[in-house]
Symmetry: C2
Subunit: 704 residues, 2 copies
């Protein structure tokens, strides 16, 4: 009897399995997504763009110790929905963002064992996102997550722009390669322990694909709303041109611990045959939750300087106050130590920065090396390296608080944790209260070194939670956050706009470690920046460090004019002027642009773009009618064509152009620049020469 | 030339090596310790008691990845010192403690590689302690600790009283065995995963040895001042009668991360041929740092009741408010959940406890299950189980705050962390502020489950640090701490007297899980209690749980009278009356003793003692001239001989005796007790019968 019943229901199931494929297209119909099940009930999807296949049949699913969500499914129902709405970001490239998509929820069920899984897809004109939604199950509502089946399969040996997979860092240079050449391209990273651990052909997101052929399509692959889940890497099949999601595990080998119901982050593909659309896309923000901070009036985009670059210019100045490398924060009486005399984070020196910032309208000054703990870096072999409420003897918190107040300058506090996130959590409330008590409303956090808890990596689930917890806790104190060495951003700044910026890529500091090639900043906006702003630290005027005679000979991969252009091509609400006041005084006319350039925009127009080659962008100041234009190139000389048709018809503007001099070259003559003024209207087409490694920055002001 | 120089210095070294053994004796000369180096320069020690060898030559040393401190040493110098001082504990068994010892620091140096190590020994009349002091080295000042060479080697097949080695729990029954029978004795624990992990013959400290022969010597082996270091287990060589220190590792296999200079905890041996001296010894407190809290006026020993036992009496009542096991703290809106109606931590019920406590002079009421998070216990598979500032809908924090205040009763908060110490650290300041805002000044912490950070065990270095950090942070808020499932105490309550008590052993709750044999509480004072007070939760009047008809049939291993005696034999400044108010009302005359008995003492006299058999103790109230006597036996009927000579000569007292009735037996007739009154003076010798599993409690009040 029973057997007959089962047999009967199995036959019914078989019927259920023959459900036809589910399909959905973008509002403009150009992007088309199909979802289906194979005979084993394993879900897969494919994507076509402008009628041509883009992503071939690619598996979907999740694997856990308790049960898996990979096969045995049938489609129980499909819900569709069209949404067209706009929202106003607290800051960003646009004063208004359109969130326009068609949604399809494919509800899967399996009977033996009983499981339910919803695949939710959102298809926009500029790409798509999908996520796994695990509702409460009849059993197994706690998962020890081992991985995803998620694939991104392509049909040909396309071009890849990527960095090596890594559990702990993303501070790499970019490779422009192909599927088949990936092993060779990543070869030089094989020695890097972490990259090695993830295998030779694992890469990180955000990454960019440029398809082969006459009419290439650009595809940015990343994720949105990474919350309560590990970061995603991509395991590349270099012969099959396929990529598979690879979730960062903790040191015990587990990728995540989930309590259902749970929704994963969105897996995102930004798609266009026009490279400029990749730069303009707000898709990842659109897939994040709306702002969760009610009163955002205290969140203020800012430009800042820092007692910071002094420690990079040579091998002389130190973050540490003393040379007693055995000093222990909270144990050693630092007032009894002798200063090494090479400690820039001292009261008098900070005052100089405050004076300069105040005189030049720079909002804030960051100070690194102000607190106890920098004497050594054996952080992993001690359970406390830093105190966040204990200043060095030569750093007078109260005096500087009053001095900065009087000068109308804000101070930005630095919380380097040496990656001891566990101890930072223990000190967090006190650290933030200490900031508020001393008039700090922004913090730069750092996680340099191996992570404590020692079970974790920088991008494993626990750390993903930790860094978001810090941003949320900061919001409780009305503190803005710029996090370094944290998991790469995934658009969470829409939800927590006090999280102004992150590092999470190879930044400007590397100009002091051999330099960044000019192509590097032609790549970041196509990849890293899609998740959120980067604290890249532009504004480097003295890029040849031999100038200081302090033992470093590193030369920056940039002209001076290009550094000004970065304020446009690397937009961030927390933008640094990284160089020393004395260098800005040496080039006061050029620094004028940094004084003028805003950090918040009402509109942005990408005029020219090709990954790893060049970017030209125009942006409108959020608080005036002024426009700003920035253009950069790689190591090749180039002429940017700047079409001013974005200006209101007929209106006359004066453009102040900060450009490379004719003989400028980032290798030989980086500080050769010119400043000229021309009249422009919406009819103007400006042919603007850019030096090798050069750029141009233009301020466009209405004529009265 | 150079070679000759080296050769020469090597010859000088050789001379140095022939330094004779270092020796030191206790102030009374009975205990004698010798330290020497073997031909390889490996340090070892031995101990003699009353002229006979006690501990044979036993290795000393430390092993780390970077370098080891095991051999190659010579004795550079030996410093000795005699100290005789007294100190006043904030609470305890004595109002004054004598700290009288002779100290010997053996300063070892090694040349290749260069190392320095000081062995510091303190020899008291009642035992000795030694520790490793690692000064700053010429190199390798950061150690990845792998273990200790420390041995405790004995000469014969002595009797051992011990529990299995375990990284995560010490809630075991005690084995009375011998070296050679240890494997068999621990056999029944083999199935226990953690005990298994440590191997079959690893045991925990504190443990007790009783030497073979006509004149046995008792030796308690433990550690003092466990700070910044993992807990110690003992790896037993059952044929050689030797024991070797085995440090608890983290899940990556590392025992500790040390920055030098660093001093290890003290390894302690409490030694006497009179078992009563083991109970009286304050050696472990003496080896801890003096009190670090300046104003201790807010630290108040207390008796408390609890909304707690109701959840143990049967399989009905729950800590959880609802039956929705998928509820997520901070995510689920609990006010929208339906109560399961079996949740004792509700406002009305707590008021009943407050009323009873107020009527009977009980200082405080603990409430378990008051806060969000008890709905499920998959703690290890979620990164947040509990919120510590979010009460269940049926627990009105404000109303109870005012009600308790009006009734002159304190509330004790419960912080069950589900062993997510990482998340507790993140919530800690807010949790303690919430307590102060609501008039709580004591907390019971809990760490049930596998530890998060997932790299840790309950007794690995990181957790040792965490639990002390919590006690210190609590002190900042003037909060007293009773920590459960925390590393076994090592006398740190002297330094942080707000740390009133811990569990860290199999407690009274097990009377509801099959019961504790009477011998269990005849063992704990010789072992577990040497590190500090235990929140054992005595006062169980209704020990037969079938009484409740709620599905449990567990019978407690105790008579009712014995439960009163435990307030004397298990001294603690935070002493519970664990049973339900209605049971105390049923036996109001017996409960009168719990109302009267103090929890803080000016003097204590151990009158009779044999481990695992019986204990008889007299204590003087710190705040009056009253004395109290308690006696317990194991499962054998016994007559305690109570010698009242501790009373002032000639003075007359009235003794109220709470005793087992003649027909009392813990198995068959546990609630049969009598209360009688007799006159006593310092001449009185009372022959007091104790029932099997029984005991006696006596209040001794001066006659006016």
């Amino acid at each position: 009897m029973n057997f007959m019943k089962n047999l009967f229901s199995i036959i019914m199931l078989a019927a259920g399995l023959s459900a036809s494929a589910a399909e959905i297209a973008s509002p403009d119909g150009m992007l088309r997504l199909t979802v289906d099940l194979d005979p084993q009930g394993a879900p897969f999807y494919s994507v076509a763009y402008k009628g041509a296949p883009l992503v071939e049949n690619s598996r979907l699913g999740l694997t856990a110790d308790e049960t898996s969500f990979n096969d045995g499914f049938r489609i129980a129902s499909v819900d569709t929905l069209t949404v067209d709405r706009t929202w106003q970001p607290v800051w960003g490239e646009y004063s208004e963002v359109r969130d326009h998509f068609r949604e399809m929820a494919v509800n899967l069920v399996a009977d033996n064992p009983e499981r339910a899984l919803t695949l939710r897809f959102r298809v926009f004109d500029d790409g798509l996102g999908f996520r796994y939604e695990l509702p409460a199950q009849s059993k197994n509502n706690y998962l020890t997550l081992r991985g995803e089946a998620t694939e991104f399969n392509f049909a040909d040996d396309h071009t890849l722009f990527c960095i090596p997979g890594d559990y702990d860092t993303d501070e790499y240079l970019w490779s422009e390669t192909t599927f088949s050449n990936l092993p060779e391209a990543l070869g030089n990273y094989r020695k890097h322990s972490e990259a090695q651990r993830t295998g030779g052909t694992v890469i990180q997101t955000p990454m960019l694909i440029k398809t082969k052929g006459e009419h290439p399509v650009y595809v940015n692959i990343h994720e949105a709303a990474l919350v309560g889940y590990p970061a995603m890497l991509l395991d590349v099949d270099t012969e099959g041109f396929d990529m598979k999601a690879s979730l960062v595990p903790d040191r015990l080998g587990v990728s995540g611990y989930l309590q259902l119901p749970f929704s994963t982050p969105w897996r995102t593909l930004i798609v266009s045959d026009d490279a400029r659309d990749i730069l303009a896309s707000q898709l990842i923000y659109n897939l994040n939750e709306p702002c969760k901070i009610e009163d955002t009036s205290w969140i203020k985009p800012m430009k800042f300087m820092g007692v910071w670059w002094e420690m990079f210019t040579g091998n002389v100045k130190t973050w540490a106050y003393s040379d007693d490398y055995l000093a222990k924060p909270g144990v050693t009486d630092y007032s009894s130590l002798r200063s090494n005399g090479r400690h820039p984070a001292n009261t008098e020196n900070v005052k100089k920065y405050i004076d300069f910032a105040s005189a030049h309208g720079i909002d804030a000054v960051l100070v690194e090396g102000w607190n106890e703990g920098w004497e050594d870096w054996a952080s992993y072999r001690k359970n406390r390296q830093f105190l966040f409420d204990k200043a060095y003897p030569d750093f007078d918190v109260e005096q500087l608080r009053e001095y900065a107040k009087a000068k109308g300058v804000k101070l930005v506090m630095h919380h380097e944790t040496a990656a001891n996130a566990a101890d930072y959590a223990l000190q967090l409330d006190r650290a933030f209260q200490f900031m508020k008590d001393n008039n700090y409303d922004a913090v730069k956090t750092g996680y340099v070194g191996a992570v404590i808890p020692r079970s974790e990596h920088h991008t494993s689930q626990w750390m993903v939670d930790h860094v978001l917890d810090v941003a949320k806790r900061a919001a409780d104190y009305h503190i803005m956050v710029d996090s370094h060495e944290a998991p790469r951003p995934t658009g969470l700044a829409r939800t927590w706009p006090n999280w102004l910026a992150q590092e999470s890529a190879r930044g400007g500091e590397f100009e002091s470690f051999g330099g960044n090639p000019p192509s590097h900043t032609c790549m970041l906006p196509f990849t890293r920046l899609k998740g959120g702003p980067m604290d890249y630290t532009p504004g480097l005027f003295q890029g040849d460090l031999s100038y200081y005679g302090e033992g470093k000979t590193s030369k920056a991969g940039t002209t001076l004019a290009r550094q000004l252009a970065l304020y446009l091509t690397m937009p961030s609400p927390m933008q640094m002027a990284c160089d020393l006041p004395e260098n800005y005084e040496r080039f006061a006319d050029a620094f004028r642009f940094i004084e003028d350039v805003p950090v918040d925009w009402s509109d942005s127009r990408y005029l020219e773009a090709e990954p790893n080659r060049y970017i030209t962008v125009a942006r409108k100041d959020k608080n005036s009618d002024d426009w700003y234009v920035g253009a950069i190139t790689d190591d090749q000389r180039r002429t940017a064509l700047i079409d001013f048709s974005f200006l209101p018809k007929g209106a006359k503007y004066e453009a102040t152009i900060y450009e490379d001099a004719p003989d400028a070259d980032y290798r030989t003559n980086p500080q050769a620049y010119r400043i000229r003024t021309v009249k422009v209207t919406d009819k103007t087409r400006l042919k603007q020469p850019l030096a090798p490694g050069g750029g141009v920055a233009i301020r466009v002001v209405p004529l009265k």
